[in-house]
């Protein structure tokens, strides 16, 4: 608590929905250790209003936290026609999987498709590298 807390960048609770992207998937086939795969994977697509709430700009990095895990990824304006405040999109990748809880209620099926996270500006920080996720 105290002063630091006061100055800290605002946090936003969001629901993540994961999706597939053929360009990212094709980059994976070439090599998951290439920059291109990171560039197309380590992103979170946000509603413009959520971008404003986070006080960040398109293309800046954010920390995405879920339970004990966190990754730093690039924030992008989604560009979707419909508003989707409160919901953000991440392509299916090690970065999104890092945030998925192993809480399955014994079903053997984790919640891959949508889950809750807390997002905060990570101004100046670099995107988490694929080998640093672990």
């Amino acid at each position: 608590m105290g002063f630091g807390q006061f100055l800290a960048a605002p946090e936003l609770k969001l629901t993540i929905v994961t999706y597939r992207d053929i360009f990212q998937n094709s980059a994976l086939e070439v090599s998951r250790f290439d920059e291109k795969y990171e560039e197309l994977s380590a992103i979170i697509k946000l509603d413009p209003n959520d971008i404003s709430k986070l006080v960040i700009k398109d293309g800046e990095t954010v920390t995405v936290k879920s339970g004990a895990e966190k990754v730093v990824v690039k924030a992008q304006i989604s560009g979707y026609e419909e508003k989707h405040e409160g919901v953000a999109y991440m392509v299916n990748s090690p970065w999104s999987n890092a945030l998925i809880s192993d809480n399955t209620h014994g079903t053997g099926v984790p919640s891959f498709k949508n889950f809750e996270v807390v997002v905060q500006s990570a101004k100046g920080e670099k995107v988490t590298g694929i080998k640093e996720i672990f």
Partner: protein, 417 residues
């Protein structure tokens, strides 16, 4: 002409009309395959090295080490299989039996329940060739084939002329997407064909459709336009040959399959509908078939080392087995669980003795005690695979390699056991 066609292992559509040019045992040019297929077939830029404890090793030494790890383990896990030929999968099942292992594949947390229901004849299905020749209404539910199965629409479900679909897609076919976001496939379906539902709204929307099909007022807690639901019900009712492509979006949202069964029952009492699972990896369905033949279960199996009996249940799924730390070594083939599993589970996998067999360098390999490169299935080695609709397809070898095929690697491990 057809002799020159090869099969693409890029996804479970297994397109069998691919022409290639080769030079020095590399594919240099490809015709008709989509971008994803080209990326797969031209091969990765960082092939997997043969290593033991992260040091370069020869194949013999790594196979021996792999066998030793499996022998030492009480409860090993054999996981992957979606990118293996059916022949390799059968050997993997033998290894699991011999070592009293858990055996599971990605269907355990994706299309498994649907494939199980199809194999148990609880859901009506059809082949993709039927879809091309007959389907007049295709629904993609929680699926975005434009990104996951790029040629689905052009090869089978929307654009092609088929025997009973000679007049082209504008007149002869209707494309519908149900999704929580406007996907690229939804763009093609257009505003009249796209039904946007809220997250986790799938079951309710299915029930509403059943009501619509029963001439009841279709109510949803999210107030979906009733008129639009009734219009959709009407389109589905009038279909001569309907297909629902079930994607992960739908599967992850349903807590149980009941609403889908109810919808299919209703649809088939007023119309004629079929299910096709939108399987990702090129031979995931083959694994389900092969294990089913052997044990009566499609996945999530643990063999008893004494009796060879197969036990089945959620507790034998890859995720639960790792989470409960019941596994003490793992062999991974043609899969990268370290990048596809939830991190807490993946971390545990990284900590136990780990064997990785794959054509390409991946995250799992970076933590593996043994890595063994294998030939790229469908390019450097042939074999059989099962398409998403259950049809068996023969993959031909295209170029020569000195790498062992996935089947050969597993056979040699089996021999060393």
């Amino acid at each position: 002409m057809t002799d020159n066609y090869y099969v693409c292992p890029g996804c479970a559509l297994l397109c069998d009309d691919i022409e290639v040019e080769t030079e020095d045992n590399k594919i240099t040019k490809m015709y008709t395959a989509c971008m994803k297929g080209v990326a797969r077939m031209k091969g990765c830029s960082s092939p997997l090295e043969c290593t033991v404890e992260q040091e370069a090793a020869d194949v013999d030494a790594s196979i021996e080490k792999a066998a030793a790890i499996l022998k030492d383990a009480k409860n090993p896990l054999i996981f992957g299989h979606g990118n293996s030929s059916s022949e390799a999968q059968k050997v993997a099942i033998e290894i699991a039996k011999r070592t009293g292992a858990y055996i599971d594949d990605t269907s355990s947390f994706c299309q498994g329940p649907i494939i199980e229901a199809i194999l148990q004849e609880k859901l009506k299905t059809c082949t993709l060739d039927d879809v091309r020749d007959k389907a007049d209404v295709t629904v993609f539910w929680g699926a975005d084939p434009a990104n996951s199965h790029p040629r689905h629409l052009s090869r089978y479900s929307y654009f092609p002329r088929g025997k009973e679909r000679q007049r082209g897609w504008e007149e002869d076919r209707t494309l519908i997407t149900v999704d929580i976001r406007k996907s690229d496939t939804s763009e093609i379906a257009g505003n009249s064909g796209f039904f946007q539902i809220p997250i986790k709204g799938d079951a309710e929307f299915m029930n509403a459709l059943v009501d619509g099909l029963s001439s009841k007022v279709p109510k949803t807690s999210f107030n979906f336009d009733k008129k639009k639901i009734l219009e959709l019900s009407n389109t589905l009712k009038k279909a001569k040959f309907g297909v629902i492509g079930v994607g992960l979006g739908l599967l992850y949202s349903l807590e149980e399959l009941e609403p889908l069964f109810a919808l299919m029952d209703k649809l088939n009492s007023v119309s004629n509908f079929h299910i096709i699972p939108m399987v990702g990896q090129y031979n995931m369905r083959g694994f389900n078939h092969n294990l089913f033949e052997e044990t009566g279960y499609i996945n999530r199996v643990k063999f008893d080392i004494e009796s060879g009996q197969a036990k089945h249940g959620a507790e034998y799924s890859v995720v639960e087995a790792l989470k409960e730390r019941s596994v003490d070594a793992a062999l991974v083939i043609g899969s990268d669980p370290l990048s596809s599993l939830p991190l807490p589970v993946a971390r545990y996998l990284a900590d136990i003795p780990l064997i990785d067999i794959d054509p390409c360098q991946n995250l799992t390999a970076t933590k593996a005690n043994v890595t063994i490169p294998c030939a790229l299935g469908g390019v450097e080695s042939g074999g059989t695979a099962v398409r998403m609709d259950g049809v068996e397809i023969e993959l031909k070898q295209i170029v020569e390699t000195d790498k062992l095929s996935d089947k050969e690697v597993l056979t040699r491990i089996m021999e060393a056991l």
